[in-house]
């Protein structure tokens, strides 16, 4: 190297660097939210079998992710998006960022547990459901035992002063579980929901900014002062899975109030203007494969959509899940039409 003149040295370096950056395989860009997590061996096996290298881009919280996709739709930042759920699908559709599904992936059957609503979602032409879960209340069992209080049974119970001051919710404007809880209560109570929320505010409900804030700062299980928190139905199961020392029973319990449970279904879709249509279809098929549907239960803490996939034993700690038909259902387009107005109304009624 020293014998070459400086310019020639530079040329050699540049060539070596350039050669290093040329990738051998085709690249599929996947846009996801911050909670996307699959075991590495599964992803590596997919890359080997399909000949496509996966390039995952995390774009923040689900709502942020959809907004970033809408802003950049002129020149999309990915080819495939995972993580758009039924509360944001309408928004994504009206912004025109989703492309049609390949014919082979349309109308795939979904698990029975998802009920009529879930089955209706499986008929989408531009979005493939991958996993589902419930947003509901979690209660700190030890706190309620110590204070000899019963858990609330209905939404109206929750609005009473003695329960309202025990609750922490998330701001629907900044948190997707917060939005889900608001959607559930609003679709169950109709117009009177705002009086209900005003009652909660008077009773002393706390509003946190995100799930992490509420769960780790305000939830009494982790040192806070509120024994009721809006979280996921799988959280008690995760508490057992990640318990230290190992527990056999979950320290939290799901509280399924009628009208206080939201069915959340996440899916994968192709982005309009994205490249690699073949690889995108392969990835979507991969997400519906039995191995991934099995694994995502303990990595993303959602239930599998594919029928006949074995439930992971730890998920039994979530207790008996409510039948979906008992919950008031909101269509994807209805959600999209009302979400923004309800967010603002919430801010007015509860926050200001």
């Amino acid at each position: 190297m020293q014998q070459l003149k400086p310019f020639q040295q530079l040329l050699v370096c540049a060539t070596l660097l350039f050669m290093g950056s040329v990738s051998a395989a085709a690249e599929l860009r996947v846009v996801t939210h911050a909670s996307f997590d699959l075991p590495k061996p599964l992803i590596e096996r997919f890359e080997q079998e399909s000949g496509v290298s996966l390039r995952v881009v995390k774009a923040g919280d689900t709502g942020e992710m959809v907004n970033k996709l809408i802003l950049s739709k002129g020149s999309p930042i990915g080819d495939v998006v995972y993580g758009i759920d039924n509360s944001l699908l309408g928004r994504a559709r009206s912004a025109g960022i989703l492309d049609a599904l390949p014919a082979s992936l349309r109308g795939l059957p979904v698990a029975e547990g998802m009920g009529a609503e879930g089955i209706a979602l499986s008929g989408a032409q531009d979005w493939l459901p991958i996993d589902w879960g419930y947003v509901t209340l979690n209660a700190d069992k030890a706190w309620f035992a110590k204070h000899s209080m019963d858990l609330p049974k209905t939404l109206d119970d929750l609005a009473k002063a003695e329960y309202a001051k025990l609750l922490v919710v998330q701001n629907p404007a900044t948190s997707s579980p917060g939005m889900a809880f608001l959607l559930a209560t609003a679709s169950a109570k109709g117009e009177s929901v705002w009086d209900w929320w005003a009652q909660l505010r008077q009773g002393g409900v706390k509003v946190a900014n995100s799930w992490s804030d509420a769960y780790y700062k305000d939830f009494s299980l982790n040192g806070g002062d509120r024994p009721l928190v809006v979280s996921y139905a799988s959280s008690p199961a995760a508490e057992v899975f990640y318990s230290d020392p190992k527990k056999v029973e979950s320290p939290t319990a799901n509280v399924f109030l009628p009208g206080g449970v939201f069915l959340q279904v996440e899916g994968v879709a192709r982005l309009k203007g994205g490249q690699q249509p073949e690889a995108a279809a392969q990835f979507m098929r991969f997400m519906r494969s039995v191995e991934v549907q099995q694994a995502l239960q303990t990595t993303m803490w959602m239930w599998p959509v594919q029928p006949d996939v074995a439930m992971d034993p730890v998920m039994s700690h979530a207790g008996k899940l409510p039948p979906v038909a008992a919950q008031a259902a909101m269509g994807v387009d209805d959600i999209a039409a009302s979400a923004e107005a309800w967010r603002r109304r919430f801010a007015q009624v509860v926050l200001r």
Partner: protein, 522 residues
Amino acid sequence: MTPSTRRGLNASHLVGWVPLLFILVWAVLPLARLGWEGWLQVQDMGWSLLWQPWQDAYLRGRVLWSVAQASASTGLALVLGVPIGWVLVRWHFWGRQWVVRALMLPFVIPTLVAALAVMALWGSWFEQGPVLLILGNLFFNLCLIVRGAMGGFDSVSASRLAAARSLGATPWRAFWRLEWPTAKPAVWAAACLVFLYCLSGFGLALLLGGQAWATAEVEIYTRVAHDLDLPIASVLALWMLLISGLVVAVYARLSLSRVERLRGDRVPVRMARWGNGAWSVGLSLLVLLALNFGPLAALLVRALQASPAAWQHAWGDEAWLALGNTLRFTVLGVSLAAVLGAMHGWAARASGWWRAMGMAPLVTSPVMIAFGLLLLWPQWLDQLWVLVCAYALLAIPLVAAPVAQAVQQVSPRWVDAARTLGATPWRAFWRVVWPQVIPSWRRGLAFAAATMVGEFAVTLLLSRPEWLTLSTYIYQLLGRPGALNAQAAWVMSASLMALSLLVFTLLDVRSNTKPESDARSK
């Protein structure tokens, strides 16, 4: 103007254009692009939109509260930090060097963990609200004032102080008429920085203050990231920019006063003894413990209480990836900021405008920059060099300000002497001016490294799982339920603190660590 200075001015302005272009491209352009997008959405509303933040009671309240809490925090930090800085520079005690090194640790802690640590310490006395928020602000920012004051008081000329004392001035009068005016530029720079950080504070305000006491930046973030309501967000960001710009202008004016001290004329540090300095040292350490180190100690205690299973869960494969990435990004970002910051500091040595422009990255809202970049160059946002540039952008002001100060303090006689002896302008700079600037530059680099490890706002850009850093990893742990995850988060935060302490030790400025012998000290 002599020919040498004229030539010197041209060269330095050319040097200054490189970092300025960098700031323009990465901070100003995205802001303008996002603002333009917002303007396109409300063209018919016209200029009346500009007054909306002041007409709407809620937004007005947010803006006024942001300014109020930033002013209160800055004022308190000044009142507490300046005396502590003076004590740390004048008195020596066992462990002083470690106290100075550990001052910057609050910066590296992720916001959620810091809020939990502050609540662990103060949560039983104060509820979520304005007082806790100001305590949280002090936790993060007191160290800035202390360091600024230390740098300022360090440049007091010992011979002048001795002359003042021998002419009959009491210690207080000597401080007020000689030491404080000398230290003022450095302290004002630090105060400006503290004000900007508190004003644009986002996570801390929500965690410790609650929704009722959120800052304007929270509104901007919510509207841009979650509502895509660009018009109001842009207008709000514009007003916050104007307010911050005012503060920056005041800082730029105040920081221009020049101070000259001969080398070797530093005031000697004295050993604190019972009856002579022990009270000052004790009181300073108590305040630092309460506000600065207390929450860190609470964090450390929780980490040490974690079970071995939690340590194992924390230090899995992902943790090592995160560690490697944090080091890699910090080194790359600090290197870039070191060069650009030094260049800007040199260009800004004599001009208030340049100094003010150097603060631009701190004045603009990070979420606006992130989303503006998304509009401008979406195809590049998942590349490594963009991430490094974003890190460097937020660190340039931190390096440029002390460098500008130090360059201003170098006497022009040195440069003239070098030039008359035959040195070229570059050689005169490199061999005469630069060695005198290095200590301030290193101070700036330590600060820059601290903010990079703590990852201020860079996470708003697109991130890739292979770019996992320690901060992001901690947030990932706190994104799932479970005692293992909670304990692992404490463990990783303590590890982060240890890593940063190592980085600060390496970047440490070799100041007068040992006290002078009794015969020479007073």
